[in-house]
C-alpha cells in the first residue's frame, strides 16, 4: 500500500483545496465569556482506503481472508477432536513432549478466535468510516415549567390520599410493609444449624490410640525415633469412612520426638511421653496443613504464609501471621505399650474464630 498507487487528485492535500465535505466542529472566537478560542477539530485526514478503491478492495479481501481462516480453524478443531487419540504425545519445540490433542485443540481454537478479532479490528480501522463526529452534550435537568408541574401534581396526590388525616390506614400500611421482609429473614434459618461446639472438639478423647497414617497401625514409643516425623489419626477413623475429611481436618496430628532435655516448655514436657510430642497439624492462621519440620532447629514452617512454630518451646509462634501456638495433644502409653491420647485438645485447633476467646 505505497502512496504511489494513489491518483494525484485523490490525495488529501489536493482534496482539501477543492471540496470540504466534512465539518470541522464548532469554531468560535475568544470573547468576554470564553477567554480561549475553541480551535475546533483538526482537519480530517483520509486513509488510503478512502481515496483508493483498489486499496479498499485489498482491505476487504484481507478481512474476508481472516474470517475464512477462522472458519477453517474451527473445522480443524472439530476434526482434531474427532481424529486425534487422547493419549498421543508429540514433541514440539519449545514446549517439549505434549499431548497432541491438547496442542491441536488449543491452537485451532486460538487461531479461530484470534482471526475473528483481528478481522474485526482490520475492518474497523480500514473500511468503516473514521470521520470525527462531535456529539453535543446538554444539561439533563428538566425545564422549570416541568419541575413545577411535577411538584404540584405530587402535593395534590398527597392531599387526595389523605394519609395525614386517615391515621388508621397509614399505620396499618406501615405495619404491613414492615412485616413483609420478615418472611425472608425467617428463611435464613435454613442456612444453619449453627456450628455449636463442633469447632472446639475433635475426634480425640481419652484412651484413643495414635494410629500411624502410613501403615494404619497403632504407634509404640519405640517406633518414633528422635528426629523423625510421623503423622497420626485417632483410632477408629478410617479413610473410607463417611466424613473422614471433615474429621481429619481437625484431628490430624504431627508426632515428633525430641531429646527431653531440649524441651524448654514445662507443660510441653509434662504432656509428652519420653520426648515424644504430639501437635495439631493445622496451622492456627488460616488452617493450612503445616508440616515443614526442620529436625535440627525443631521449627515447623507453614507453606501458606510462612508462620513458624518452635516445637521445642510449646510450639510458640516465632515468625509469621499466626496468632496462637499450635495446640498440643497430651499423650501417654497404655497398658499394652501403645501411645494413646489423654483427652481432646484443650483449645480449639486451627484458625481463630469470633467466639474463640
Amino acid at each position: 500500500m505505497s502512496s504511489q498507487d494513489i491518483p494525484e487528485e485523490n490525495l488529501p492535500a489536493a482534496q482539501s483545496a477543492g471540496h470540504d465535505e466534512h465539518g470541522h466542529g464548532a469554531v468560535s472566537v475568544a470573547d468576554d465569556k470564553h477567554p480561549f478560542a475553541d480551535p475546533g477539530l483538526p482537519p480530517h485526514e483520509h486513509r488510503i482506503q478512502d481515496v483508493d478503491e483498489r486499496a479498499a478492495k485489498r482491505s476487504e479481501r484481507s478481512v474476508a481472508l481472516m474470517f475464512t481462516v477462522s472458519m477453517l480453524a474451527t473445522v480443524a478443531f472439530i476434526a482434531a477432536f474427532v481424529a486425534i487419540p487422547v493419549d498421543k504425545s508429540v514433541y514440539i519445540w519449545p514446549l517439549g513432549h505434549i499431548s497432541a490433542l491438547n496442542f491441536a485443540l488449543g491452537m485451532t481454537l486460538g487461531i479461530a478466535l484470534f482471526c475473528i478479532g483481528a478481522g474485526a479490528v482490520h475492518w474497523a480501522r480500514t473500511l468503516m468510516s473514521d470521520v470525527e463526529v462531535a456529539d453535543e452534550r446538554h444539561p439533563i435537568e428538566a425545564t422549570p415549567e416541568v419541575r413545577e408541574k411535577v411538584f404540584a401534581d405530587f402535593s395534590q396526590g398527597a392531599k387526595e390520599s389523605a394519609l395525614g388525616r386517615r391515621k388508621l390506614i397509614r399505620n396499618t400500611m406501615l405495619g404491613a410493609l414492615t412485616l413483609v421482609p420478615l418472611s425472608g429473614v425467617v428463611l435464613l434459618r435454613d442456612l444453619g444449624p449453627l456450628p455449636g461446639t463442633k469447632l472446639r472438639h475433635t475426634l480425640w478423647s481419652k484412651g484413643k490410640l495414635l494410629v500411624n497414617m502410613n501403615t494404619n497401625e497403632p504407634l509404640r514409643p519405640s517406633d518414633v525415633a528422635v528426629g523423625s516425623l510421623t503423622f497420626a489419626k485417632p483410632e477408629g477413623l478410617e479413610e473410607h469412612d463417611h466424613g473422614f475429611q471433615n474429621e481429619i481436618a481437625k484431628a490430624a496430628l504431627m508426632i515428633v520426638r525430641l531429646q527431653p532435655d531440649d524441651i524448654k516448655d514445662k507443660r510441653e514436657l509434662e504432656w509428652s511421653h519420653e520426648g515424644i510430642v504430639a501437635y495439631s497439624k493445622i496451622c492456627t492462621h488460616v488452617g493450612c496443613p503445616i508440616s515443614l519440620y526442620e529436625q535440627q532447629t525443631h521449627h515447623v514452617l507453614c507453606p501458606c504464609h510462612q508462620s513458624t512454630f518452635d516445637l521445642s518451646d510449646g510450639a510458640r509462634v516465632i515468625f509469621g501471621p499466626a496468632g496462637h501456638a499450635l495446640p498440643q495433644l497430651r499423650i501417654g502409653v497404655n497398658d499394652e505399650g501403645y501411645l494413646e491420647a489423654h483427652g481432646d485438645f484443650e483449645e480449639p485447633v486451627g484458625p481463630s474464630f469470633w467466639e474463640r476467646g
Binding site: 483520509h46 504425545s89 502410613n214 501403615t215 517406633d223 525415633a225 528426629g227 523423625s228 516425623l229 515443614l292
Partner: protein, 270 residues
C-alpha cells in the same frame, strides 16, 4: 656446585627453582596417590574398617572428631549408620566446605564407591545404625505407584512439592529437588534424615512404603515422565503458572493493543 651458586642471581633462577619445586610436588603426588588407590582396591574385607578409619582421619575428623564423637563444628557420627555415610559422601554433601551457608549443598563427589564403602564400614563400626539399602529394597519390582503417590503427598510433599521439585524453608534452607536423585540415595535420605530433613524410619514408614514412594518419584519426576501439558514451568504449581499467565498472556494482549493503536491508518503518515 660453584657453577650453580654463581648463577643463583640470574634473573631466571627463581623461575627454575619454582619449576623444580612444582616438579617435586607433582612427582611425590604421582608416587603416592596411585599407591593409595591401589591399596584401596586390593584391600581385604577385614581391613576395610581400618582403611575407612584412615580416610576418616584425613577427610572427616577435623569436624566430627577423631573418634566420630562430634565437635562444635560437626555432629557425632556414632549410630548414624552406613546409610547416612553413603548418602552424605556419595552426593558430595560431605565433606562440607569450611565456610558453609545455611545448608550444605549437593556437589561433586570426590570419593570412589570403594572408599565410601570403607568410610561407611568404619562409621557403622562406631555404633549400630541403618545399613546401605540393597537394590531389592529400592528397586521398582512390586512397587505400588498410586500408594507411593499417597504416601509422598502425606509425608514429603509439604517440603519437596507434589512431584519432588523441591521448595524453600526458613533462613535460606531449602528442600532440594529430587530430580536425578538416585533411588538408593532417596531411600537413604528417608531412612537417616540428612541435615534438617526429618527421618522416616522403617518403624513408621515401612520398607514397602519407601519402595512405593521411590516408584512414584520415578513415574512423575524423571526423564521418562510424560507431561501432557507440555511446558511444565518448573512444576511448581499455581505460582509459576499464574506468573506466566499474567506476564506473558496479559503482557502479550497489551502489546498487541498498543501495536494496533500505534499504527496510524491515515494515508499521510504524520
Amino acid at each position: 656446585m660453584k657453577k650453580l651458586s654463581a648463577r643463583r642471581r640470574h634473573p631466571l633462577a627463581a623461575l627454575v627453582v619454582l619449576l623444580l619445586a612444582l616438579a617435586c610436588t607433582g612427582g611425590l603426588y604421582a608416587v603416592f596417590a596411585p599407591a593409595d588407590k591401589a591399596q584401596a582396591d586390593e584391600t581385604a574385607q577385614s581391613l576395610t574398617i581400618e582403611e575407612g578409619k584412615k580416610l576418616y582421619a584425613v577427610g572427616c575428623a577435623s569436624c566430627h572428631g577423631t573418634g566420630g564423637q562430634g565437635t562444635s563444628d560437626g555432629p557425632s557420627l556414632v549410630g548414624v549408620g552406613a546409610a547416612a555415610v553413603d548418602f552424605q559422601v556419595a552426593t558430595g554433601r560431605m565433606p562440607a566446605a569450611t565456610s558453609q551457608g545455611p545448608q550444605v549443598p549437593e556437589k561433586k563427589n570426590i570419593y570412589s564407591q570403594a572408599e565410601i564403602d570403607q568410610l561407611a564400614a568404619y562409621i557403622a563400626s562406631l555404633g549400630a545404625g541403618p545399613s546401605i539399602p540393597t537394590e531389592e529394597q529400592y528397586g521398582p519390582e512390586g512397587a505400588d505407584i498410586a500408594k507411593g503417590g499417597e504416601l509422598f503427598r502425606n509425608n514429603c510433599a509439604q517440603c519437596h512439592n507434589f512431584t519432588g521439585k523441591g521448595g524453600a524453608l526458613t533462613h535460606g534452607k531449602y528442600a532440594p529437588s529430587l530430580e536425578g536423585a538416585s533411588p538408593k540415595h532417596i531411600y537413604e535420605a528417608m531412612q537417616t534424615g540428612p541435615q534438617n530433613m526429618p527421618s522416616f524410619p522403617d518403624t513408621t514408614l515401612s520398607e514397602k512404603n519407601k519402595k512405593d514412594i521411590i516408584a512414584y518419584l520415578d513415574a512423575v519426576n524423571s526423564e521418562k515422565t510424560e507431561s501432557p501439558g507440555g511446558l511444565a514451568l518448573g512444576g511448581l504449581g499455581p505460582v509459576s503458572e499464574g506468573l506466566f499467565g499474567w506476564i506473558f498472556g496479559l503482557g502479550g494482549l497489551i502489546a498487541v493493543a498498543v501495536w494496533v493503536a500505534a499504527r496510524t491508518a491515515k494515508a499521510k503518515k504524520s
